[in-house]
Amino acid sequence: MNSVLTQEELERILNQAVQDVTERTAGVRLHPEDKSPGEDLCTVQITFDKGFHTSLTLCADTSLLYRMACNTFHEELLEPEDLEEFGKEYFNVLCGRIAGAMFQATQIPAHFNPPVFYHGRYEPEGREIQFVLTYSNEYNEGAQLIHHVPCTGEDEASAERN
């Protein structure tokens, strides 16, 4: 992604998608804020495999994801599998929106693999962080959207393979 758009343009697309999709799907307003999530975390991750060889990772306080899932499913109590189901579906819609906006800006179609959910923090192998967008809600629960790019060596190896 970063080779086609400036980091500033990409951050603007991601930021707009996060705030809009989160409010529309889960009724939660996220505000950009320099506050890292706490210790009890969930991670959802997607890898773009066509058009853009990058990945997006959402690392959120479990309580925030739980709140979003409860709002969306209209439930007060959820099973752990509900949280995972919500996390994957929410991130799938979010990344669809992002890929659509990327296409509008670049005319390059992006495709991504199904989201993967983890309890705790997950860092994809062979990738390095390009930038992090940090958010919190009115209850001081936090989330980070992390944009990973292939490590320099991995990028060159991938180019040689392709």
Binding site: R24, F73, E89, V93, G96, G100, F103, P109
Partner: protein, 120 residues
């Protein structure tokens, strides 16, 4: 009388959003199907006024399922719903006879406008 909608989507999140968006309108959800195969099997029995069809699902994709339903029931009104589609997908959907297209996540106003156009 309310118009009956068959929702075809493997996402619980989207099914709930659709149900919420149709509350208090002239539409009601008549049936849920979690796959294209399920939609093909249930279409005749449900006989909906309108179908909302997700495109990317486990198993058969939504456009293939819509094509089969439209071959068997040429009067079916099918609206495609997806979070990610490019021009070739729109073109494929138009070619097989889909009546409209809605992006996820959707607003009620946008959804109803596409429904009205599909039923016109």
């Amino acid at each position: 009388m309310k118009r009956r909608v068959m929702v075809v989507d493997d996402s619980r999140l989207v099914r709930i959003q659709l149900e919420d968006a149709l509350k208090g309108t002239d539409y009601e959800v008549a049936a849920y199907c979690r796959s294209g195969e399920d939609a093909i099997a249930q279409y005749a029995a449900v006989n909906p006024d309108l179908v909302t069809m997700d495109i990317i699902m486990q198993g058969m994709d939504g456009i293939d399922a819509a094509e089969i339903i439209l071959k068997e029931h040429p009067d079916a009104r099918i609206v495609m719903v997806s979070s990610l589609a490019y021009e070739d997908t729109f073109e494929r959907a138009r070619k097989i006879g889909a009546r409209g297209f809605v992006d996820k996540p959707f607003y009620q106003e946008q959804l109803l406008k596409v429904f009205e156009e599909a039923l016109a």
